[in-house]
Protein backbone atom coordinates (compact mmCIF):
# COMPACT_ATOMS: atom_id res chain seq x y z
CA UNK A 1 0.00 0.00 0.00
CA UNK A 2 2.85 2.35 0.90
CA UNK A 3 4.60 1.78 -2.46
CA UNK A 4 1.34 2.44 -4.27
CA UNK A 5 0.85 5.61 -2.25
CA UNK A 6 4.34 6.90 -3.11
CA UNK A 7 4.00 6.04 -6.81
CA UNK A 8 0.60 7.72 -7.05
CA UNK A 9 1.93 10.77 -5.21
CA UNK A 10 4.67 11.19 -7.79
CA UNK A 11 2.18 10.62 -10.60
CA UNK A 12 -0.11 13.29 -9.15
CA UNK A 13 2.69 15.81 -8.66
CA UNK A 14 4.02 15.24 -12.17
CA UNK A 15 0.53 15.72 -13.64
CA UNK A 16 0.08 18.91 -11.67
CA UNK A 17 3.39 20.27 -12.94
CA UNK A 18 2.46 19.38 -16.51
CA UNK A 19 -0.91 21.06 -16.09
CA UNK A 20 0.67 24.43 -15.29
CA UNK A 21 3.67 24.23 -17.61
CA UNK A 22 2.40 23.03 -21.00
CA UNK A 23 1.80 25.62 -23.72
CA UNK A 24 -1.03 23.75 -25.42
CA UNK A 25 -4.18 24.39 -23.40
CA UNK A 26 -5.72 21.01 -24.28
CA UNK A 27 -2.62 19.23 -23.00
CA UNK A 28 -2.89 21.28 -19.80
CA UNK A 29 -6.51 20.22 -19.39
CA UNK A 30 -5.63 16.55 -19.97
CA UNK A 31 -2.82 16.78 -17.41
CA UNK A 32 -5.28 18.34 -14.99
CA UNK A 33 -7.62 15.38 -15.49
CA UNK A 34 -4.78 13.00 -14.72
CA UNK A 35 -4.04 15.08 -11.62
CA UNK A 36 -7.64 14.77 -10.41
CA UNK A 37 -7.56 11.03 -11.08
CA UNK A 38 -4.34 10.82 -9.04
CA UNK A 39 -6.04 12.53 -6.10
CA UNK A 40 -8.91 10.03 -6.35
CA UNK A 41 -6.41 7.15 -6.37
CA UNK A 42 -4.71 8.61 -3.27
CA UNK A 43 -8.07 8.72 -1.49
CA UNK A 44 -8.65 5.06 -2.41
CA UNK A 45 -5.27 4.03 -1.00
CA UNK A 46 -6.17 5.91 2.21
CA UNK A 47 -9.35 3.75 2.37
CA UNK A 48 -11.59 6.77 1.90
CA UNK A 49 -13.63 4.92 -0.74
CA UNK A 50 -16.58 7.28 -0.66
CA UNK A 51 -14.48 10.41 -1.10
CA UNK A 52 -12.46 8.73 -3.85
CA UNK A 53 -15.56 7.76 -5.79
CA UNK A 54 -17.02 11.25 -5.34
CA UNK A 55 -13.74 12.81 -6.48
CA UNK A 56 -13.80 10.66 -9.62
CA UNK A 57 -17.46 11.36 -10.28
CA UNK A 58 -17.38 15.13 -9.78
CA UNK A 59 -13.88 16.27 -10.68
CA UNK A 60 -12.79 13.73 -13.29
CA UNK A 61 -16.19 12.81 -14.70
CA UNK A 62 -18.00 16.14 -14.72
CA UNK A 63 -15.93 19.28 -14.10
CA UNK A 64 -13.01 18.20 -16.29
CA UNK A 65 -15.35 17.24 -19.13
CA UNK A 66 -16.80 20.75 -18.97
CA UNK A 67 -13.31 22.30 -18.99
CA UNK A 68 -12.32 20.19 -21.98
CA UNK A 69 -15.62 20.96 -23.69
CA UNK A 70 -15.16 24.70 -23.17
CA UNK A 71 -11.60 24.52 -24.53
CA UNK A 72 -12.70 22.56 -27.59
CA UNK A 73 -15.60 24.85 -28.53
CA UNK A 74 -13.45 27.94 -28.00
CA UNK A 75 -12.02 28.78 -31.38
CA UNK A 76 -8.39 27.73 -31.79
CA UNK A 77 -7.89 27.42 -28.06
CA UNK A 78 -5.30 24.74 -28.60
CA UNK A 79 -3.09 26.96 -30.72
CA UNK A 80 -3.51 30.19 -28.75
CA UNK A 81 -0.96 29.05 -26.18
CA UNK A 82 1.80 28.44 -28.72
CA UNK A 83 2.58 32.12 -29.00
CA UNK A 84 2.31 33.08 -25.34
CA UNK A 85 4.72 32.00 -22.65
CA UNK A 86 3.29 29.60 -20.04
CA UNK A 87 4.75 31.74 -17.26
CA UNK A 88 3.87 35.39 -16.80
CA UNK A 89 6.33 38.22 -16.10
CA UNK A 90 5.54 38.15 -12.41
CA UNK A 91 6.70 34.59 -12.10
CA UNK A 92 9.52 35.29 -9.63
CA UNK A 93 7.27 36.96 -7.10
CA UNK A 94 4.87 34.05 -7.64
CA UNK A 95 7.58 31.48 -6.94
CA UNK A 96 8.70 33.36 -3.85
CA UNK A 97 5.17 33.71 -2.47
CA UNK A 98 4.44 30.03 -2.97
CA UNK A 99 7.78 29.10 -1.35
CA UNK A 100 6.85 31.30 1.61
CA UNK A 101 3.44 29.69 1.95
CA UNK A 102 5.08 26.26 1.75
CA UNK A 103 7.55 27.14 4.49
CA UNK A 104 4.85 28.57 6.77
CA UNK A 105 2.54 25.59 6.25
CA UNK A 106 5.39 23.11 6.62
CA UNK A 107 6.58 24.77 9.80
CA UNK A 108 3.07 24.82 11.21
CA UNK A 109 2.45 21.18 10.35
CA UNK A 110 5.81 20.23 11.81
CA UNK A 111 4.94 21.86 15.14
CA UNK A 112 1.57 20.18 15.50
CA UNK A 113 1.80 16.78 17.12
CA UNK A 114 -0.31 14.44 14.99
CA UNK A 115 -1.40 11.30 16.85
CA UNK A 116 -0.50 8.17 14.87
CA UNK A 117 -3.62 6.75 13.15
CA UNK A 118 -4.95 3.42 14.36
CA UNK A 119 -3.81 0.58 12.15
CA UNK A 120 -5.67 -0.20 9.94
CA UNK A 121 -7.51 3.13 9.73
CA UNK A 122 -11.26 2.57 10.21
CA UNK A 123 -13.29 3.26 7.08
CA UNK A 124 -16.13 5.68 7.73
CA UNK A 125 -19.36 4.03 6.55
CA UNK A 126 -21.34 5.95 3.96
CA UNK A 127 -24.42 6.10 6.19
CA UNK A 128 -22.33 7.80 8.89
CA UNK A 129 -21.15 10.45 6.41
CA UNK A 130 -24.76 11.07 5.44
CA UNK A 131 -25.84 11.33 9.08
CA UNK A 132 -23.08 13.84 9.85
CA UNK A 133 -24.05 15.93 6.82
CA UNK A 134 -27.62 16.44 8.01
CA UNK A 135 -26.82 16.82 11.73
CA UNK A 136 -23.49 18.28 12.77
CA UNK A 137 -22.65 19.84 9.41
CA UNK A 138 -26.20 20.75 8.42
CA UNK A 139 -25.53 24.50 8.18
CA UNK A 140 -22.54 24.33 5.81
CA UNK A 141 -24.37 21.66 3.84
CA UNK A 142 -27.39 23.92 3.35
CA UNK A 143 -25.15 26.90 2.59
CA UNK A 144 -23.45 24.89 -0.17
CA UNK A 145 -26.83 23.87 -1.56
CA UNK A 146 -27.93 27.52 -1.59
CA UNK A 147 -24.70 28.60 -3.30
CA UNK A 148 -25.02 25.94 -6.00
CA UNK A 149 -28.68 26.78 -6.60
CA UNK A 150 -27.77 30.46 -6.97
CA UNK A 151 -25.03 29.55 -9.44
CA UNK A 152 -27.45 27.38 -11.42
CA UNK A 153 -30.13 30.11 -11.56
CA UNK A 154 -27.45 32.67 -12.46
CA UNK A 155 -26.10 30.62 -15.34
CA UNK A 156 -29.62 29.99 -16.64
CA UNK A 157 -30.24 33.75 -16.45
CA UNK A 158 -27.07 34.52 -18.43
CA UNK A 159 -28.01 31.95 -21.07
CA UNK A 160 -31.55 33.32 -21.43
CA UNK A 161 -30.36 36.94 -21.81
CA UNK A 162 -27.84 35.97 -24.45
CA UNK A 163 -30.32 34.02 -26.52
CA UNK A 164 -32.90 36.84 -26.43
CA UNK A 165 -30.19 39.30 -27.58
CA UNK A 166 -29.44 36.98 -30.48
CA UNK A 167 -33.13 36.93 -31.35
CA UNK A 168 -33.30 40.75 -31.37
CA UNK A 169 -30.27 41.08 -33.65
CA UNK A 170 -31.81 38.70 -36.14
Amino acid sequence: MRTAFILITFWTLASGLLAISRRNMIHCALALISFFAGIAALLFTLSADFLGAVQLLIYVGAISVLILFALLVTHDASRLGDRGAPFSRGKWSGWMLSALVFVVLGFGLHRVAVPPPPDPAPALPVAEIGRLLVTRHAVPFLAMALLLTAALVGSALVAIEESSEHARKE
Partner: protein, 349 residues
Protein backbone atom coordinates in the same frame (compact mmCIF):
# COMPACT_ATOMS: atom_id res chain seq x y z
CA UNK B 1 -1.46 -29.98 -6.33
CA UNK B 2 2.19 -29.67 -5.31
CA UNK B 3 2.84 -28.97 -1.59
CA UNK B 4 4.62 -25.69 -2.37
CA UNK B 5 1.62 -24.44 -4.24
CA UNK B 6 -0.91 -25.48 -1.61
CA UNK B 7 1.24 -23.93 1.14
CA UNK B 8 1.30 -20.71 -0.82
CA UNK B 9 -2.47 -20.79 -1.19
CA UNK B 10 -2.88 -21.36 2.56
CA UNK B 11 -1.67 -17.81 3.24
CA UNK B 12 -4.76 -15.61 3.59
CA UNK B 13 -3.57 -12.75 1.37
CA UNK B 14 -2.44 -15.07 -1.41
CA UNK B 15 -5.67 -17.07 -1.37
CA UNK B 16 -7.66 -13.85 -1.60
CA UNK B 17 -5.56 -12.56 -4.49
CA UNK B 18 -5.80 -15.92 -6.29
CA UNK B 19 -9.58 -15.98 -5.84
CA UNK B 20 -9.85 -12.44 -7.21
CA UNK B 21 -7.54 -13.24 -10.14
CA UNK B 22 -9.61 -16.29 -11.12
CA UNK B 23 -12.84 -14.30 -10.91
CA UNK B 24 -11.37 -11.46 -12.97
CA UNK B 25 -10.12 -13.89 -15.64
CA UNK B 26 -13.49 -15.65 -15.84
CA UNK B 27 -15.47 -12.41 -15.98
CA UNK B 28 -13.28 -10.89 -18.70
CA UNK B 29 -13.38 -14.06 -20.82
CA UNK B 30 -17.17 -14.29 -20.43
CA UNK B 31 -17.61 -10.59 -21.21
CA UNK B 32 -15.43 -10.72 -24.32
CA UNK B 33 -17.22 -13.82 -25.55
CA UNK B 34 -20.55 -12.15 -24.92
CA UNK B 35 -19.42 -9.03 -26.76
CA UNK B 36 -18.42 -11.08 -29.79
CA UNK B 37 -21.70 -12.94 -29.86
CA UNK B 38 -23.75 -9.83 -29.11
CA UNK B 39 -22.33 -8.37 -32.31
CA UNK B 40 -23.41 -11.50 -34.17
CA UNK B 41 -26.83 -11.40 -32.46
CA UNK B 42 -27.18 -7.76 -33.49
CA UNK B 43 -26.45 -8.59 -37.11
CA UNK B 44 -28.78 -11.58 -37.15
CA UNK B 45 -31.65 -9.84 -35.32
CA UNK B 46 -31.34 -6.73 -37.47
CA UNK B 47 -31.45 -8.97 -40.53
CA UNK B 48 -34.55 -10.67 -39.15
CA UNK B 49 -36.25 -7.32 -38.58
CA UNK B 50 -35.34 -6.17 -42.09
CA UNK B 51 -36.42 -9.49 -43.63
CA UNK B 52 -32.89 -10.55 -44.59
CA UNK B 53 -30.77 -13.51 -43.51
CA UNK B 54 -27.66 -11.88 -42.10
CA UNK B 55 -24.25 -13.58 -41.77
CA UNK B 56 -25.00 -17.32 -41.94
CA UNK B 57 -22.09 -18.79 -43.89
CA UNK B 58 -19.19 -19.11 -41.44
CA UNK B 59 -19.99 -22.17 -39.34
CA UNK B 60 -23.50 -23.35 -38.47
CA UNK B 61 -25.89 -20.36 -38.38
CA UNK B 62 -22.87 -18.09 -38.84
CA UNK B 63 -21.67 -18.93 -35.32
CA UNK B 64 -17.99 -18.69 -36.31
CA UNK B 65 -18.44 -15.24 -37.87
CA UNK B 66 -17.19 -13.29 -34.78
CA UNK B 67 -14.00 -15.37 -34.75
CA UNK B 68 -13.38 -14.68 -38.43
CA UNK B 69 -14.07 -10.98 -37.87
CA UNK B 70 -11.72 -10.68 -34.91
CA UNK B 71 -8.90 -12.44 -36.77
CA UNK B 72 -9.37 -10.12 -39.70
CA UNK B 73 -9.17 -7.05 -37.45
CA UNK B 74 -6.20 -8.38 -35.49
CA UNK B 75 -4.18 -9.18 -38.59
CA UNK B 76 -4.75 -5.88 -40.39
CA UNK B 77 -1.80 -3.59 -40.97
CA UNK B 78 -1.44 -0.91 -38.31
CA UNK B 79 -1.92 2.43 -40.08
CA UNK B 80 -1.48 5.83 -38.44
CA UNK B 81 -2.97 8.72 -40.43
CA UNK B 82 -0.42 11.52 -40.90
CA UNK B 83 -2.51 14.36 -39.49
CA UNK B 84 -3.38 12.90 -36.10
CA UNK B 85 -2.07 13.70 -32.65
CA UNK B 86 -0.30 10.38 -32.22
CA UNK B 87 -0.13 9.83 -28.48
CA UNK B 88 -3.77 10.62 -27.76
CA UNK B 89 -4.97 9.01 -30.99
CA UNK B 90 -3.54 5.65 -29.93
CA UNK B 91 -4.54 6.07 -26.29
CA UNK B 92 -8.20 6.97 -26.94
CA UNK B 93 -9.48 3.46 -27.86
CA UNK B 94 -7.94 1.93 -24.73
CA UNK B 95 -9.48 4.66 -22.58
CA UNK B 96 -12.85 3.87 -24.17
CA UNK B 97 -12.46 0.16 -23.37
CA UNK B 98 -11.47 0.56 -19.70
CA UNK B 99 -14.71 1.82 -18.05
CA UNK B 100 -16.98 -1.15 -18.93
CA UNK B 101 -14.33 -3.57 -17.64
CA UNK B 102 -13.91 -1.61 -14.40
CA UNK B 103 -17.65 -1.29 -13.73
CA UNK B 104 -18.16 -5.00 -14.14
CA UNK B 105 -16.04 -5.60 -11.02
CA UNK B 106 -18.82 -4.61 -8.62
CA UNK B 107 -21.82 -6.26 -10.30
CA UNK B 108 -22.87 -9.46 -8.48
CA UNK B 109 -23.58 -12.12 -11.09
CA UNK B 110 -24.69 -14.75 -8.62
CA UNK B 111 -25.12 -15.38 -4.91
CA UNK B 112 -22.49 -17.89 -3.77
CA UNK B 113 -21.10 -20.97 -5.46
CA UNK B 114 -18.99 -23.49 -3.52
CA UNK B 115 -18.40 -20.90 -0.81
CA UNK B 116 -17.24 -18.12 -3.15
CA UNK B 117 -19.11 -14.85 -3.43
CA UNK B 118 -19.88 -14.37 -7.10
CA UNK B 119 -18.74 -10.78 -7.36
CA UNK B 120 -15.19 -9.54 -7.88
CA UNK B 121 -15.31 -6.66 -5.40
CA UNK B 122 -18.41 -5.99 -3.32
CA UNK B 123 -17.65 -2.35 -2.51
CA UNK B 124 -19.63 -0.45 0.11
CA UNK B 125 -19.98 2.35 -2.41
CA UNK B 126 -20.67 0.01 -5.36
CA UNK B 127 -23.12 2.19 -7.22
CA UNK B 128 -21.10 5.33 -6.69
CA UNK B 129 -18.13 3.45 -8.15
CA UNK B 130 -20.18 2.50 -11.21
CA UNK B 131 -21.30 6.06 -11.82
CA UNK B 132 -17.87 7.55 -11.30
CA UNK B 133 -16.25 5.06 -13.68
CA UNK B 134 -19.04 5.33 -16.23
CA UNK B 135 -18.56 9.09 -16.28
CA UNK B 136 -15.01 8.50 -17.56
CA UNK B 137 -16.31 6.78 -20.70
CA UNK B 138 -16.74 10.14 -22.39
CA UNK B 139 -12.97 10.74 -22.48
CA UNK B 140 -12.28 7.95 -24.95
CA UNK B 141 -14.74 9.47 -27.40
CA UNK B 142 -13.79 13.12 -26.87
CA UNK B 143 -10.09 12.35 -27.14
CA UNK B 144 -10.64 10.28 -30.27
CA UNK B 145 -12.57 13.16 -31.81
CA UNK B 146 -9.96 15.73 -30.89
CA UNK B 147 -6.83 13.69 -31.63
CA UNK B 148 -8.11 12.64 -35.07
CA UNK B 149 -7.70 16.27 -36.13
CA UNK B 150 -10.55 15.97 -38.57
CA UNK B 151 -13.97 17.63 -38.61
CA UNK B 152 -16.48 14.79 -38.47
CA UNK B 153 -14.79 12.97 -35.59
CA UNK B 154 -14.49 16.31 -33.81
CA UNK B 155 -18.21 17.00 -34.15
CA UNK B 156 -18.97 13.49 -32.94
CA UNK B 157 -16.72 13.96 -29.92
CA UNK B 158 -18.33 17.26 -28.99
CA UNK B 159 -21.82 15.87 -29.30
CA UNK B 160 -20.86 12.95 -27.16
CA UNK B 161 -19.48 15.18 -24.40
CA UNK B 162 -22.69 17.21 -24.28
CA UNK B 163 -24.91 14.14 -24.43
CA UNK B 164 -23.13 12.12 -21.78
CA UNK B 165 -23.00 15.04 -19.36
CA UNK B 166 -26.70 15.74 -19.88
CA UNK B 167 -27.87 12.18 -19.33
CA UNK B 168 -25.61 11.30 -16.43
CA UNK B 169 -27.60 13.70 -14.26
CA UNK B 170 -31.06 12.08 -14.59
CA UNK B 171 -29.42 8.64 -14.51
CA UNK B 172 -27.72 9.37 -11.19
CA UNK B 173 -30.84 11.00 -9.75
CA UNK B 174 -33.10 8.12 -10.81
CA UNK B 175 -31.21 5.58 -8.71
CA UNK B 176 -31.36 7.82 -5.62
CA UNK B 177 -34.94 6.64 -5.06
CA UNK B 178 -33.71 3.04 -5.27
CA UNK B 179 -31.22 3.71 -2.51
CA UNK B 180 -33.80 5.51 -0.41
CA UNK B 181 -35.78 2.27 -0.53
CA UNK B 182 -32.87 -0.13 -0.01
CA UNK B 183 -30.86 2.00 2.40
CA UNK B 184 -27.47 0.91 1.03
CA UNK B 185 -25.16 1.63 -1.89
CA UNK B 186 -23.82 -1.92 -1.88
CA UNK B 187 -25.06 -3.86 -4.89
CA UNK B 188 -25.28 -7.19 -3.04
CA UNK B 189 -27.64 -5.50 -0.55
CA UNK B 190 -29.71 -4.13 -3.43
CA UNK B 191 -30.10 -7.64 -4.81
CA UNK B 192 -30.84 -9.13 -1.39
CA UNK B 193 -33.54 -6.48 -0.86
CA UNK B 194 -35.32 -7.70 -3.98
CA UNK B 195 -35.84 -11.24 -2.66
CA UNK B 196 -39.60 -10.64 -2.38
CA UNK B 197 -40.56 -7.97 -4.91
CA UNK B 198 -38.33 -6.66 -7.66
CA UNK B 199 -37.59 -2.96 -7.50
CA UNK B 200 -39.20 -2.28 -10.85
CA UNK B 201 -42.59 -2.71 -9.13
CA UNK B 202 -41.63 -0.36 -6.30
CA UNK B 203 -39.84 2.27 -8.41
CA UNK B 204 -41.22 2.06 -11.96
CA UNK B 205 -40.53 5.71 -12.78
CA UNK B 206 -36.92 5.38 -11.68
CA UNK B 207 -36.60 2.35 -13.95
CA UNK B 208 -38.01 4.24 -16.93
CA UNK B 209 -35.66 7.21 -16.44
CA UNK B 210 -32.72 4.89 -15.91
CA UNK B 211 -33.54 2.90 -19.05
CA UNK B 212 -33.78 5.98 -21.28
CA UNK B 213 -30.57 7.42 -19.83
CA UNK B 214 -28.82 4.09 -20.30
CA UNK B 215 -29.63 4.19 -24.00
CA UNK B 216 -28.18 7.70 -24.19
CA UNK B 217 -25.09 6.78 -22.17
CA UNK B 218 -24.29 3.81 -24.39
CA UNK B 219 -24.68 5.87 -27.60
CA UNK B 220 -27.30 3.50 -28.92
CA UNK B 221 -30.16 4.46 -31.17
CA UNK B 222 -32.36 6.47 -30.73
CA UNK B 223 -29.54 8.46 -29.12
CA UNK B 224 -26.57 7.58 -31.33
CA UNK B 225 -25.83 11.18 -32.33
CA UNK B 226 -22.08 10.91 -31.64
CA UNK B 227 -21.90 8.33 -34.43
CA UNK B 228 -24.83 9.25 -36.71
CA UNK B 229 -23.59 7.52 -39.85
CA UNK B 230 -25.77 9.61 -42.17
CA UNK B 231 -24.53 13.01 -40.96
CA UNK B 232 -21.09 12.43 -39.47
CA UNK B 233 -19.74 9.60 -41.64
CA UNK B 234 -18.99 7.53 -38.54
CA UNK B 235 -18.48 10.16 -35.87
CA UNK B 236 -15.56 9.91 -33.49
CA UNK B 237 -14.22 6.66 -34.99
CA UNK B 238 -14.07 7.84 -38.62
CA UNK B 239 -10.28 8.09 -38.69
CA UNK B 240 -9.75 4.76 -36.95
CA UNK B 241 -9.02 1.38 -38.48
CA UNK B 242 -7.77 -2.08 -37.56
CA UNK B 243 -7.74 -3.14 -33.91
CA UNK B 244 -8.06 0.46 -32.76
CA UNK B 245 -11.45 0.68 -34.46
CA UNK B 246 -12.30 -2.76 -33.09
CA UNK B 247 -11.62 -1.51 -29.55
CA UNK B 248 -14.21 1.26 -29.95
CA UNK B 249 -16.61 -1.30 -31.31
CA UNK B 250 -15.93 -3.68 -28.41
CA UNK B 251 -16.29 -0.83 -25.94
CA UNK B 252 -19.71 0.07 -27.31
CA UNK B 253 -21.00 -3.47 -26.96
CA UNK B 254 -19.31 -4.01 -23.59
CA UNK B 255 -21.02 -0.81 -22.41
CA UNK B 256 -24.35 -2.14 -23.59
CA UNK B 257 -23.82 -5.42 -21.72
CA UNK B 258 -22.75 -3.62 -18.56
CA UNK B 259 -25.77 -1.30 -18.77
CA UNK B 260 -28.04 -4.34 -19.15
CA UNK B 261 -26.35 -6.03 -16.19
CA UNK B 262 -26.86 -2.88 -14.14
CA UNK B 263 -30.55 -2.65 -15.04
CA UNK B 264 -31.00 -6.32 -14.10
CA UNK B 265 -29.19 -5.80 -10.80
CA UNK B 266 -30.95 -2.61 -9.80
CA UNK B 267 -34.50 -3.27 -10.95
CA UNK B 268 -34.97 -6.93 -11.88
CA UNK B 269 -33.67 -8.74 -8.83
CA UNK B 270 -30.17 -9.57 -10.08
CA UNK B 271 -29.59 -13.27 -9.52
CA UNK B 272 -32.90 -13.82 -7.69
CA UNK B 273 -34.97 -16.58 -9.26
CA UNK B 274 -38.65 -15.58 -9.27
CA UNK B 275 -41.42 -17.84 -7.90
CA UNK B 276 -39.02 -20.68 -6.97
CA UNK B 277 -37.39 -21.27 -3.60
CA UNK B 278 -33.97 -22.27 -4.92
CA UNK B 279 -32.54 -22.91 -1.43
CA UNK B 280 -34.46 -26.19 -1.46
CA UNK B 281 -32.20 -27.57 -4.22
CA UNK B 282 -29.05 -27.47 -2.11
CA UNK B 283 -26.28 -24.85 -2.16
CA UNK B 284 -24.52 -25.83 -5.41
CA UNK B 285 -27.63 -26.05 -7.58
CA UNK B 286 -29.12 -22.93 -5.97
CA UNK B 287 -25.97 -20.96 -6.77
CA UNK B 288 -25.90 -22.23 -10.34
CA UNK B 289 -29.59 -21.42 -10.79
CA UNK B 290 -28.93 -17.89 -9.53
CA UNK B 291 -26.17 -17.37 -12.10
CA UNK B 292 -28.44 -18.80 -14.80
CA UNK B 293 -31.27 -16.45 -13.79
CA UNK B 294 -28.92 -13.48 -13.96
CA UNK B 295 -27.75 -14.42 -17.44
CA UNK B 296 -31.28 -15.08 -18.74
CA UNK B 297 -32.38 -11.62 -17.60
CA UNK B 298 -29.19 -10.10 -19.00
CA UNK B 299 -29.75 -11.70 -22.41
CA UNK B 300 -33.35 -10.48 -22.44
CA UNK B 301 -32.14 -6.90 -21.98
CA UNK B 302 -29.41 -7.23 -24.60
CA UNK B 303 -32.02 -8.39 -27.12
CA UNK B 304 -34.21 -5.49 -26.03
CA UNK B 305 -31.34 -3.04 -26.69
CA UNK B 306 -30.85 -4.50 -30.17
CA UNK B 307 -34.56 -4.55 -30.92
CA UNK B 308 -34.92 -0.87 -30.03
CA UNK B 309 -31.98 0.07 -32.25
CA UNK B 310 -33.60 -1.40 -35.34
CA UNK B 311 -37.08 -0.09 -34.52
CA UNK B 312 -36.76 3.57 -33.54
CA UNK B 313 -35.42 6.46 -35.64
CA UNK B 314 -32.78 8.86 -34.33
CA UNK B 315 -33.66 11.91 -32.23
CA UNK B 316 -32.76 15.37 -33.49
CA UNK B 317 -30.09 17.08 -31.39
CA UNK B 318 -32.39 19.73 -29.85
CA UNK B 319 -34.98 17.03 -29.08
CA UNK B 320 -32.29 15.02 -27.32
CA UNK B 321 -31.27 17.95 -25.13
CA UNK B 322 -34.87 18.92 -24.41
CA UNK B 323 -35.75 15.37 -23.37
CA UNK B 324 -32.76 15.21 -21.05
CA UNK B 325 -33.06 18.55 -19.30
CA UNK B 326 -36.76 19.42 -19.49
CA UNK B 327 -38.38 16.01 -19.13
CA UNK B 328 -36.10 13.47 -17.49
CA UNK B 329 -34.40 15.79 -14.98
CA UNK B 330 -37.61 17.23 -13.44
CA UNK B 331 -39.18 13.76 -13.46
CA UNK B 332 -36.18 12.31 -11.63
CA UNK B 333 -36.30 15.10 -9.02
CA UNK B 334 -40.03 14.59 -8.57
CA UNK B 335 -39.44 10.87 -8.17
CA UNK B 336 -36.94 11.46 -5.35
CA UNK B 337 -39.31 13.82 -3.50
CA UNK B 338 -42.24 11.43 -3.91
CA UNK B 339 -40.24 8.41 -2.73
CA UNK B 340 -38.84 10.30 0.26
CA UNK B 341 -42.33 11.54 1.24
CA UNK B 342 -43.81 8.06 0.93
CA UNK B 343 -41.02 6.59 3.07
CA UNK B 344 -41.41 9.33 5.69
CA UNK B 345 -45.18 8.77 5.89
CA UNK B 346 -44.64 5.02 6.20
CA UNK B 347 -42.14 5.55 9.02
CA UNK B 348 -44.60 7.76 10.88
CA UNK B 349 -47.51 5.34 10.45
Amino acid sequence: MSPVFSNLLAQPGVALAAEAAVKIAVVIVVLMGMVAYTVLAERRICALIQDRLGPNRVGAFGLLQPIADSFKLLLKENVLPGHVNRFWYVLAPTIAMAPPLLTLAVIPFGNTLAGFNLVIADLDVGVLWIFSIASLGVYGIVLAGWASNSKYPFLGGMRSAAQLISYEVPMGLSVVSVFLLVGSLKLSNVVAYQAGTWLIFKAPLAFLIFLVSAFAETNRLPFDLPEAEQELVGGYNTEYGQMKFALFFLAEYANMIVASALIVTLFFGGWQVPFVRVEAFGPILAGALGVAAFFVKLLAFIVFFIWVRWTLPRFRYDQLMRLGWRVLLPLALLNIVATALALALKLRA
